[in-house]
């Protein structure tokens, strides 16, 4: 188990963390070693969280600013709790009621936050790629808390952490991600970590909502396939991940109705029975119970959905710790 210590303490080269990234923008370029480092560090943080006083002073003097251009409950709260548990100072900003509403550009905003003294900026933005623009224009570390329909790396890492706790190694496992994959930043980031760790991934949903060109995406050890046939996809699956289905997709004509989506793609007990016995059921939240997932499955035996949320804090603590420590070294 990883020992957490004062970042000011001398670090011997062999113990130096193998984390050298200024930013965490997606999981697509993370090496297996980097992913393992996040996992190991998260284990330590999970242990810290179980203590009676679950608070450290490791990041004392580090300023973390959350910059949210989109509504969020769990991600922002999770980052805030994580940062505070490590003793960091946290400032929360939202686009409404800030200089963003007065027309300030993203670049000017992140430069301003840097000038104020932000060490790490956790950012959520409705535009795919926005954190990349921000990261190129500030020396502060940028953590992508979700950008448009592109990426959500901390969600993918906490999902991986949760899977490993239950299923052990990922090698040879089969993960099915079901729903509106096309518009899902969670699905994309999960795809890269799962493939890297050796799990085969099946992306499944209505034809209008699956990114067909991801069929055949692969790592050295695993492969992604894309299908519209849920029954086939679920056959023998080890992990089933349901994605949030938005009513907006019906309004835009991408699906005929939520009713038809439910009848074709809802993860319910009957369908889950096709998966391997004891298969894990996951959901990045917030759930529409009764739409993409039935309540009995969401709260059933295989469900680790609540655990995903609580693991989120530990994993985000690990990421904040690694990034802040890398900045100081």
């Amino acid at each position: 188990m990883l020992e957490l210590r004062n970042p000011d303490a001398p670090v011997s080269p062999t113990e130096a963390p193998a984390w050298h990234r200024k930013d965490l923008l997606d999981t697509d370029t993370l090496s297996v070693a980097e992913i393992e480092l996040v996992m190991e560090t998260s284990e330590g943080m999970r242990e810290v969280r179980s203590r009676p006083v679950a608070k450290l002073a490791t990041l004392r003097g580090v300023t973390v600013i959350t910059l949210f251009y989109e509504q969020s409950t769990r991600t922002r709260a999770s980052f805030e709790v994580a940062a505070k548990a490590l003793g960091a100072d946290v400032v929360n900003l939202t686009a409404s009621g800030s200089s963003v509403e007065k027309g300030e550009t993203l670049i000017d905003t992140v430069r301003t936050l840097e000038a104020i003294g932000a060490d790490l900026v956790v950012m959520r933005h409705p535009r795919s790629g926005a954190p990349y623009l921000a990261a190129r224009n500030t020396s502060a570390g940028v953590i992508n808390g979700g950008d448009g329909t592109h990426a959500h790396p901390t969600q993918a890492l906490l999902d991986l952490f949760t899977i490993r706790h239950h299923a052990g190694g990922l090698s040879g496992k089969r993960v099915v991600i079901v729903g509106d994959v096309l518009h899902s930043r969670v699905a994309r980031s999960n795809l890269w970590t799962l493939l890297a760790m050796g799990a085969d991934v099946t992306l499944c949903g209505p034809a209008t909502l699956v990114p067909k060109t991801l069929d055949g995406a692969a790592s050295e050890t695993a492969r992604c396939s894309v299908t519209t046939n849920l029954e086939q996809a679920l056959d023998g699956a080890d992990i089933v991940m349901a994605l949030r289905m938005q009513k907006e997709r019906q309004d835009k004509g991408l699906i005929p109705s939520l009713r038809e989506y439910i009848s074709g793609y809802q993860i319910n007990a009957r369908r889950l029975a096709l998966a391997r016995p004891g298969a894990l059921v996951m959901h990045p939240g917030p759930m529409n119970e009764g739409v993409e997932i039935s309540p009995e499955v969401a709260h059933g035996l295989g469900s680790v959905i609540e655990e995903q949320v609580s693991n989120g804090v530990a994993v985000r603590m690990a990421i904040l710790y690694l990034m802040a420590t890398a900045r100081h070294s």
């Binding site: 697509d28 993203l106 790629g129």
Partner: protein, 437 residues
């Protein structure tokens, strides 16, 4: 009284007249007077063109000058100087200005500004519909009479097929071509790049290829029904080009252009060259950069003569228009100063063939818009000549552009081929020593 100029020892290529050889060109009294071997210099100023190609001044059917209305992006003065440096002696000004040239008064005002500020020949393109809004027709006869050489709503396709049909009926009677951005807006709706591998990887909304091909098919059908000349602006898809080729085989009055950007780049430019995505807003263009298969089809289309013109779609933007989130960034590439070099680089790679490519920069576009006699040729009386060094290697430095728009994905890229000199109306107006040799 203009000087006499002898352009000596270059490879003279004049596609319109079937000339290709090491020859001299004598320019006197503002016009080409002789093209022959071994012309005596006499008192003429000599331009040594050995190792260079001497060809008619280039003609661009698709230029955004931005004035009036968007002078922060470019002006007639800056963008026509950029054209000159790029070897273009004639540009056709697209009407996405504010106000848009949808009446004779506005066209006349534009012509006055051009007379005052332009560094090359400028022909105005008038609107198809009022304010390019796609609702009611502009007064097309008035636009024709005031000097417009074509009609277009530029980046706003005429979505309503009935309105387009009526526009074509009237344009045919006036003898004007309609240059159409072929796009089915309900299909491309909200897309900021090509729909496919890269857009799905980056989580960006895509424009499907069918948005272009469906609109090309519709407009060819309307051209056939009305007999109007249809010019398809910036074809980007291999399938779209096949539709044009088929229309041509059937003898329909259909022409098309491709841009140097689509000949040179693919959708991968949005991702960038590294493992981490760049979301390069300078590679955001409408219609979007497509796949490598499409790019190769366009190159083949030029070589086979299906493509009538290489047109730049030069679209200068202010820094702030591009320094923002990808979906919010403006469409367009400032490329009139790199257009020739991208074409010659493709020649150096063995992709594009010299003769059809030069035809698509000279005689081809002159014929598409039926420009005044002499333009795009080295016939006696013609006055516009571009001298280029096809082997000169240089590195693009957007900071040195004459254009106000520094928005190019080619910044820092090495290209092969450069403009050496430009003669406009018989005068040597631009000369550039090969830099960095």
């Amino acid at each position: 009284m203009s000087r006499t100029l002898l352009i000596r020892g270059g490879r003279v290529i004049d596609p319109a007249n079937g000339i290709d050889g090491i020859l001299d060109v004598l320019v006197a009294e503002g016009a080409v007077s002789r093209v022959a071997a071994g012309i005596e210099a006499g008192t003429a100023t000599v331009l040594d063109a050995r190792g260079c190609i001497v060809t008619p001044g280039f003609i661009d059917l698709h230029t955004h000058l931005r004035e009036p209305g968007f002078e922060q992006k470019g002006t007639i003065a800056t963008e026509t100087l950029a054209a000159l440096r790029g070897g273009f002696t004639t540009v056709c000004a697209m009407p996405n200005t504010n106000p848009a040239p949808d009446s004779a008064t506005k066209v006349e005002a534009l012509i006055e500004r051009v007379a005052r500020d332009a560094r090359v020949r400028v022909f105005p393109i008038g609107c198809v519909t009022r304010d390019r809004a796609g609702r009611e027709l502009a007064e097309l006869a008035e636009l024709a009479a005031s000097g417009c050489i074509a009609l277009s709503d530029d980046g706003s396709p005429v979505a309503n097929p009935r309105l387009m049909r009526n526009a074509m009926e009237l344009a045919r009677a006036l003898g004007l071509p309609i240059s159409e951005h072929c796009d089915e807006p309900e299909l491309s709706h909200g897309g900021s790049m090509n729909e496919g591998r890269v857009s799905e990887r980056l989580g960006l909304p895509g424009q499907p290829q069918a948005a272009e091909t469906a609109a090309i098919a519709r407009n060819i059908a309307l051209s056939e029904a009305t007999g109007a000349r249809l010019h398809i602006a910036h074809v980007t898809t291999g399938r779209g080009l096949e539709l044009v080729a088929e229309a041509k085989r059937r003898g329909l009055p259909v022409t098309c252009e491709v841009t140097p950007s689509h000949l040179f780049l693919t959708e991968d430019a949005v991702f960038g060259a590294n493992t981490e995505p760049l979301y390069d807003t300078n590679a955001k263009i409408n219609p979007p950069l497509r796949t490598e298969a499409d790019r190769l089809a366009l190159v083949r289309g030029v070589n086979e003569g299906i493509v009538d013109a290489i047109a730049t779609d030069h679209a200068p933007h202010a820094v702030e228009d591009k320094l923002c989130e990808f979906d919010d960034a403006a469409f367009g590439i400032s490329c009139i100063e790199t257009a020739l070099a991208t074409v010659t680089t493709l020649m150096a790679r063995g992709e594009l063939n010299l003769l059809p490519a030069l035809r698509a920069l000279t005689a081809g576009p002159a014929s598409v818009f039926q420009l005044p006699a002499g333009l795009g040729t080295l016939s006696q009386g013609a006055g516009d000549i571009t001298v280029l060094d096809p082997g000169h290697r240089w590195t693009v430095d957007a900071a040195r552009f004459a254009s106000k728009g520094r928005n190019t994905p080619l910044d820092g890229i090495e290209l092969t081929g450069a403009v050496r000199a430009v003669i406009l109306k018989g005068e040597l107006v631009h000369e550039q020593e090969p830099a960095g040799v």
